[in-house]
């Protein structure tokens, strides 16, 4: 029998146990309410402005921070590039910040080189490991230092540039697989300015796109997507018309009112055909230009263009007339046109249309922002802060040759462009890199390039670091400021900080060139420091001058007629019947997004595929090859061979096979690895960097994987059931 007292005792004990058993699951670290950490108010979120680093567009962002953690990234409403908007990739940067595989501390190689096995070390040890060879090389052969980065803008570029110069090496290579080389030289030839213009879509009445990808992965997708939306719907009575020429029904092409498929690598010829009709029918406003070009253009009558491009002559004539009559009209070239072996010619053909339309400097036309304004005080060094958005391919090839020849004793790697992944393997970058005795990499993740390093130095993400930036388009000289929106999540140091420290230790010229204690100090000096205008600018996200007068029109007097050069596409059409069209992935860009689950799981806008790459073909072509949707194929080019799954794109030219870039990682973490093979492997190691440079053949192959698409293969044709 249980007595009353016993019962009470037992009951009390049980209650006690229950209470404190519950305590066990409680939060162990409480944020003290009396003295909370700086900027932490419980339940209150703060927004900090910064800049997006997921692609070179340089969109302004604001980050929602709650209790010391970044929660969400949105576009900065004040920022001239994106005005509060942001693309999928930009928003996913949050996952890079809190990525489980992010490098949290310095590491030194512990296995054989390239094995990817590292041992964690302290920053002190890491810096000494870096300084010993640096000092030695500076003393013996300073020119054998190689710095291989992504294009660096703002003061980070200044620090890196000055460091290399003071060190005594001119081997600073900036690599960007989607650099706008062709567009730059085309604009130099047509407009007389070697730069990227601002295409004022918002005020245009007519938009011609030549393999344009300005809505997805172009130079500034958010900027142009916003402008596109305004072109379509912001004016009371005008809706801009959009005509797209290109080899594939891409996401951008899908937005067009009229999509006219053309043979890949003929975009410029189509443009010249349109120019021909404009000049022939005296439809152009710029009659002076027209007069000078009439002779050259006579070689491009629509009929001849039809034979070369597959676009009907009457379509060319009709588009030419519409374009001329609906001014302001604008012509825009895309990555597809610019990255052929003859990209400069195609881009020049397109730019010529703008010159003919006489829209330079006008609303609804092209204009060139005055970049020099932003960093005018740096004089000759300004190019370090606002470099032209080039790919750096020539410098890269040169560096590879020199590496192979043993010219470099130290390589410093940095940036997300991952050359071991984004260069054609036929260039043998990795092999050449392995000839360098000491490789130090600044990185947030191990990837195909950084995993070859001897020393890995973890860097803060764009959300944790100080910095500044100048966007390539849409900015009118505005400078974006970048600040740590959260306390660095890991034990990281930014590359400029490390370079400044290294320069200090090296002493002499480097120390004089980089006279600051930290990168923050460098920025403070440049922008007026705390308490000055920088504080306000940091709140707003940067210095955004509001004057459009800073834009300049192009000098149209120097129009040089684009000359096509004979650079045939690799591969015999008999053995390799399909032209390979490579394009940056809408979700993964050049592959840097491949380790972010949000992006892997976002259905591709065209194929709705997730988590894997594919090869797009026309259903009729596939039928001819005996391929059905989802089949595995081997894609063979003269330079390489990969496997992928077939998916149909009913709007792709029948003689084209298209593949998105970005998948096919082998050493980029578990989210990215093993999701198809890398299409860069199909590219030849050409003189110029070209993505549309080869032909391929497809052969059916059994693959152990399956391509997962969000859309139902039959249902996706049945919109009529809905509407």
């Amino acid at each position: 029998m249980l007595h009353r007292r016993q019962f009470l005792k037992l009951g009390g004990a049980t209650a006690f146990a229950t209470l404190f058993g519950g305590c066990d699951k409680m939060q162990r670290t409480l944020i003290p309410f009396v003295i909370p950490p700086e900027n932490t108010t419980l339940g209150e979120a703060l927004w900090y402005a910064s800049v997006c680093g997921q692609c070179p567009a340089g969109c302004g962002i604001v980050v929602r921070v709650s209790e010391g953690r970044a929660k969400k990234i949105e576009g900065n409403p004040r920022h001239p590039v994106n005005r509060g908007r942001l693309c999928a990739r930009g928003q996913a940067a949050l996952q890079a910040l809190y990525h489980p595989e992010r490098l949290s501390r310095p590491m030194k190689l512990s296995g054989t080189r390239g094995s990817g096995t590292y041992a964690p070390i302290s920053w002190e040890e890491a810096l000494s490991l870096l300084m010993v060879p640096l000092k030695k090389v500076q003393a013996e052969a300073p020119a054998s230092l190689l710095m291989l980065t992504e294009p660096m803008r703002g003061h980070a570029g200044l620090v890196a540039g000055r460091f290399m110069k003071a060190f005594g090496s001119k081997h600073r290579v900036a690599w960007d697989p989607f650099g706008a080389d062709a567009m730059l030289s085309a604009n130099a030839a047509i407009h007389g300015i070697r730069d990227l213009p601002e295409h004022d879509l918002a005020n245009a009445r007519y938009l011609l796109s030549f393999s344009g990808d300005f809505l997805e992965t172009g130079i500034s997708p958010v900027h142009y997507a916003r402008a596109y939306g305004r072109m379509r719907g912001d004016r009371e009575t005008i809706r801009g018309k959009f005509v797209h020429f290109g080899p594939r029904l891409s996401m951008t092409a899908a937005a067009a009112d009229l999509f006219l498929p053309c043979t890949p690598g003929t975009e410029g010829i189509v443009a010249l055909g349109i120019a021909h009709v404009m000049v022939r029918d005296r439809l152009t406003a710029a009659s002076a230009v027209a007069g000078r070009l009439a002779d050259d253009l006579s070689a491009y009558p629509p009929e001849a263009v039809e034979r070369l491009t597959g676009v009907h002559a009457h379509d060319i004539a009709a588009v030419a007339e519409e374009f001329a009559r609906n001014q302001p009209g604008i012509a825009i070239p895309g990555t597809g046109a610019a990255t052929g072996p003859d990209g400069a010619f195609h881009c020049a053909g397109v730019a010529l249309l703008n010159a003919l339309a006489g829209n330079a400097g006008k609303p609804g036309g092209v204009s060139f922002p005055n970049r020099a304004l932003a960093f005018a005080r740096y004089g000759s060094e300004a190019a370090l802060l606002a470099p032209a958005p080039e790919s750096g391919y020539a410098a890269m090839r040169d560096a590879i040759d020199k590496m192979r020849g043993g010219a470099f004793r130290i390589a410093i790697l940095s940036g997300a462009t991952n050359p071991a992944f984004t260069l054609p393997p036929s260039l043998k970058f990795s092999e050449a890199l392995s000839k360098v005795p000491f490789i130090a990499a600044f990185a947030s993740f191990l990837d195909e390039t950084t995993s070859q390093a001897d020393l890995v130095l973890p860097v803060p993400t764009a959300l944790e670091a100080w910095g500044d930036d100048l966007a390539p388009v849409g900015h009118s000289g505005a400078v974006t400021l970048c600040q740590p929106v959260v306390v660095p999540f890991h034990d990281t140091r930014s590359m400029p900080d490390v370079l400044i420290a290294a320069a200090g230790e090296l002493g002499g010229k480097p120390a004089k060139a980089l006279p600051w204690g930290s990168f923050k100090e460098c920025l403070d000096k440049a922008y007026g420091g705390p308490g000055g205008q920088m504080e306000i600018a940091l709140q707003r996200g940067g210095f955004f001058g509001e004057s459009s007068s800073q834009r300049s029109g192009a000098r149209t007097g120097t129009v040089a007629f684009p000359k096509g050069t004979e650079r045939p596409i690799d591969g015999d059409p008999k053995a390799f019947p399909l032209a390979l069209h490579l394009y940056p992935s809408v979700t993964l860009y050049d592959g840097r997004g491949a380790n972010l689950p949000w992006l892997q799981e976002m259905p591709d806008p065209v194929t709705t595929a997730v988590w894997r790459n594919w090869v797009e073909v026309n259903p009729k072509t596939a039928a001819g090859l005996g391929l059905s949707e989802g089949d595995g194929v081997t894609v063979t080019s003269p330079s390489g061979k990969i496997t992928a799954h077939v998916t149909f794109n009913p709007g792709i030219a029948p003689d084209v096979a298209a593949m998105p870039l970005g998948q096919g990682h082998t050493r980029y973490g578990k989210t990215a690895n093993g999701r198809g093979e890398n299409p860069f492997a199909l590219l030849p190691a050409g003189e110029t960097y070209a993505l549309q440079a080869t032909r391929v053949s497809l052969t059916k192959t059994k693959l152990p994987t399956r391509l997962v698409r969000f859309a139902h293969p039959e249902g996706q044709w049945k919109i009529s059931n809905l509407m």
Binding site: G715, W717, K718, N721
Partner: protein
């Protein structure tokens, strides 16, 4: 047991012994059967626990096919339940003389199929451990179930039907329990003594019994009809092309009775074989059930045809996609359904030879049960797999977990039935007795036939 080829009219003890063979002490075979079924059932329960712990993701369900094998099984089992109580009630009311031997077996079928079928909604829901949110219990938040939801109608209807059927089963069994009490020994005597509720077979008791059973029979028919109408309405009320159809309620009831009769045939044939009840379960019962089955097959075919015809003629794209999938991904199942339910079974059932052959009729019934399972699947799944927005169409195939649970449901039903047959009089002894009382044997040449004319005492007709 006497050597004659028909039941004893004179010896109630002999009659009881013959009709209660299922109650004989358990044999090895019985234990083996129970053991095997228990293993399957336990495996299924294990799978259910695994599913509950892991999430519904272990099934093949997806968006848009949010309902799959569990709801299919639910409709199927609830459909089977329509045999027993409903038929037995109708036969009681119409005083069909051949009914007596099948009453108990059919009523038990109802009870156990309902029990098994009723489990499926609980298995199906994502948070089974919160099932009680659907019960209107008083709570401090003053939250009540939503009676606008057909699922609540279902819950009410099925519970009513289950309680009604159990009462009907038990009530009908009381005279038999009394007989069993009178003849049994040992623990069974005590067991039946309690359950027989002191029924002595007095005139008064019988009179009340008959009045009450008539009232029960009248009341249970609308309940039974409503149950499957409501199950039909679960679908018909929804904005799902292929579900949203006015024909669903009567069509579901028809299908339910159809599959139910088939199930009764199979169970009866099994009981007859296992417990050597050839003398009580004669060809007459099977032929009559066969006729019913034939009628229901025709009726089912008619309903299906008229539903199909309107959709086909109307060509509303949303509904048409569902029907088109019958010719596409779901073609095998569609052929199984049409074949088993109508194209093959109806002509066979029209043949007297088939109806009078117990193996043949059992085979056709098996076809019907399979066909009706397929039909339930084809009602539930393709309509969801071809939803209004074609972009998210997705097919569905059950996972091993679902197959395990479906198999366990069969095992559980058989287990319940076996245990019931072991413990209770599976034949309605008193009804058989009553039937025998009303009839007599008459010799015509070499054959002895049953006659409702009374040869000895023509002045005494009927009882009470």
């Amino acid at each position: 047991m006497n050597g004659s080829d028909h039941l004893s009219r004179t010896d109630p003890g002999a009659l009881y012994r013959e009709l209660s063979r299922s109650n004989l002490p358990a044999t090895k075979k019985w234990w083996l059967g129970v053991g095997l079924l228990a293993i399957v059932a336990l495996w299924g329960i294990g799978c259910f626990v695994y599913m509950m712990k892991t999430g519904m993701g272990v099934t093949g369900l997806n968006r848009p096919v949010m309902w799959g094998s569990f709801i299919t099984s639910f409709v199927f089992w609830i459909g089977l339940s329509h045999s027993g109580t409903l038929i037995s009630a109708i036969l009681r009311l119409t005083n069909a003389t051949w009914r007596a031997p099948i009453l108990r077996g059919a009523e038990a079928l109802t009870a156990f199929t309902l029990m098994v079928g009723g489990l499926f909604p609980l298995i199906h829901i994502g948070r089974n451990w919160r099932f009680y949110y659907m019960i209107p219990y008083p709570n401090s938040r003053q939250l009540w179930p939503n009676l606008r939801s057909p699922l609540m109608w279902d819950a009410v209807a099925i519970n009513t039907y289950l309680l009604g059927s159990l009462t009907f089963l038990y009530f009908g069994m009381i005279p038999d329990l009394a007989i069993a009490r009178d003849h049994a020994t040992g623990w069974r005597k005590k067991f039946y003594n309690v359950l027989a509720l002191g029924f002595r077979g007095s005139h008064n008791e019988w009179r009340r019994y008959h009045v009450a059973s008539t009232i029960f029979a009248i009341l249970i028919i609308p309940v039974a009809v409503s149950v499957h109408s409501i199950v039909g309405w679960d679908f018909a009320m929804a904005k799902v092309p292929g579900w949203h159809s006015t024909i669903f309620a009567p069509y579901f009831v028809t299908g339910a009775i159809f599959s139910g009769i088939a199930a009764v045939v199979i169970v009866m044939a099994a009981l007859r074989k296992v417990f050597r009840l050839e003398r009580v379960l004669t060809v007459v019962q099977f032929e009559n059930l066969g006729k019913l089955l034939c009628t229901m097959s025709l009726l089912w075919g008619y309903f299906y045809f008229s539903d199909f015809l309107t959709v086909w003629y109307n060509r509303n794209p949303e509904e048409w996609e569902v029907f088109r999938s019958y010719a596409g991904d779901y073609l095998p199942l569609f052929l199984v359904m049409i074949g088993c339910n109508f194209v093959v079974s109806f002509p066979l059932l029209c043949m007297r030879r088939v109806r009078r052959s117990i193996p043949a009729l059992s085979f056709v019934s098996l076809l019907v049960v399979i066909g009706m399972y397929a039909e339930r699947f084809l009602i539930v799944v393709p309509s969801l797999a071809r939803r209004n927005d074609p972009f998210i169409w997705h097919n569905y195939f059950p996972s091993w977990v679902e197959f395990s649970i479906m198999a366990a449901a069969f095992a559980m039903f058989l287990l319940l039935y076996m245990i019931f047959a072991k413990l209770f009089p599976i034949m309605a002894i008193s009804d058989v007795q009553e039937h025998l009382f009303h009839t007599s044997d008459r010799k015509i040449g070499d054959v002895t036939v049953e006659s409702i004319a009374m040869p000895h005492d023509t002045g005494k007709g009927g009882h009470g």
